[in-house]
């Protein structure tokens, strides 16, 4: 029993220490932003590996999610004779929720895990300490460009996801199932508000990009420098990112869409 309480206290202390280190790490990243602006080439390389390489999985998933929404929505709505509102349903669910959330989860799986593994291996092979020996700050040189790349890529990817999804839903809805195309778009434009829906969706995706990149980079930087440590860190990245994204999504939704 005493042992149990001791372990509980220990694990609480360990997790708070970790949160403290993560916050300190975030401050270091933010102070490194100025040095990235001087060398935009570093950011460009990371935009390639974080953004461009996630492009394909995001667009293909977006297309399929939109198509499934079109099918499922049609079957449910046609029971009430309200097939014309399919456009609003597909667009609202994509722009408000699925676009930011699913693309953030895919981003954490595709780019986040890669970032953790890369930085964990850099640490394990002592590249980071090598840089410190040469008086190069690894946070400024390695971490911050990756963080900024994640922050920039995420809203773009979420926007793409929603856009491709809506096109997918339109393909299924009016192409295959015969919902009137004019009604589909007109109802959508009447039901979706630019500020309430689209801007809030973009804000969500920026927040998710921030949190997913932060977790991925911190887990890599904080990994135990062995092959097992790196593998554990990669797992933690995906699990913690998914938890944080879904939890934050609930809070953001309650804040943004609560009053109407």
């Amino acid at each position: 029993m005493i042992q149990l309480i001791q372990n509980l206290g220990k694990s609480t202390r360990v997790s708070f220490t970790k949160l403290g280190r993560a916050s300190y790490f975030l401050i270091q990243i933010i102070f490194g932003i100025t040095s990235v602006l001087v060398r935009p080439r570093l950011l460009l390389n990371q935009l390639y590996s974080v953004g461009v390489l996630s492009f394909l999985i995001i667009t293909i998933s977006g297309l399929f999610v939109g198509m499934v929404l079109g099918l499922q929505g049609y079957y449910t709505l046609s029971d009430f004779g309200a097939e014309e509102t399919l456009g609003v349903m597909v667009a609202a669910s994509l722009v408000r929720e699925l676009g930011p959330v699913v693309s953030a989860l895919l981003f954490a799986g595709r780019a986040g895990s890669a970032l953790t593994a890369e930085i964990g291996l850099m640490k394990a092979t002592e590249q980071l300490s090598g840089m410190e020996m040469m008086a190069v700050d690894p946070v400024k040189r390695i971490i911050t460009p990756r963080f900024l790349a994640g922050l920039i890529s995420m809203p773009l990817l979420a926007g793409l996801f929603s856009a491709v999804g809506i096109i997918g839903g339109e393909m299924i809805g009016s192409g295959l199932l015969g919902v009137d195309e004019g009604a589909f778009w007109a109802q959508m434009q009447a039901g979706i508000d630019f500020y309430d829906d689209i801007i809030n969706g973009v804000i969500k995706s920026v927040v998710f990009g921030f949190i997913a990149s932060w977790i991925a980079l911190f887990e890599g930087y904080d990994a135990i420098p062995t092959s097992e440590g790196v593998s554990r860190a990669t797992t933690r990245t995906v699990v913690n990112s998914a938890f944080s994204i879904l939890g934050l999504d609930f809070i953001l939704t309650a804040l943004m869409f609560g009053d109407n």
Partner: protein, 155 residues
């Protein structure tokens, strides 16, 4: 670290397609293109009862959407509902004896303001007031009146 032009091109394409996606959402999916707040003027109407009318409810004339409701408030002196509407600047030739009524789209649909132009030569000015209004039909009230009436008839 390889600095290839192909990589730069791909990054450029990625950013461009991301921005294109966001533009598509803004212009083609949302109501941003169909109605803007800039070119519009305000008119007010007082209703005895504005029912389920909400901010952003459409304002239409002859079935065409020409504006939207921007605010609904309660006048503490006259106990009326004061409804402010933004009308698209294109439609600035509404006569000043226009009637405003609150209708329901379909049996259970959302409520909207319908403007019925009168025969006056004068046009409604910006910040103008609509004098003749017709309140929302409250379904419960109508049913209550109907029941009361049929009970009276039976006596």
């Amino acid at each position: 670290m390889q600095h290839t032009t192909t990589q730069d091109t791909l990054v450029g394409l990625f950013v461009a397609s991301g921005i294109a996606g966001l533009f598509f959402l803004a212009l083609h999916v949302s109501n941003l293109s169909s109605f803007s707040d800039q070119d519009s003027y305000v008119i007010t109407a007082r209703f005895e009862n504005s029912g389920g009318l909400k901010v952003k409810s459409p304002v239409s004339a002859a079935g065409v959407k020409i504006g939207k409701v921007t605010s609904i408030s309660f006048d503490t002196k006259t106990y009326e509902s004061v409804v402010q509407m933004n009308i698209d600047a294109k439609y600035n030739t509404l006569p000043d004896d226009t009637t405003a009524s609150i209708f329901t789209a379909g049996l259970l649909g959302e409520q909207y303001v319908n403007l019925e132009p009168g025969g006056s030569e004068e046009y409604l000015k910006p910040n103008g007031k609509i004098e003749i209004t017709q309140s929302a039909i409250i379904l419960e009230k109508a049913i209550g009146q109907f029941l009361f009436k049929s009970a009276e008839e039976k006596k």
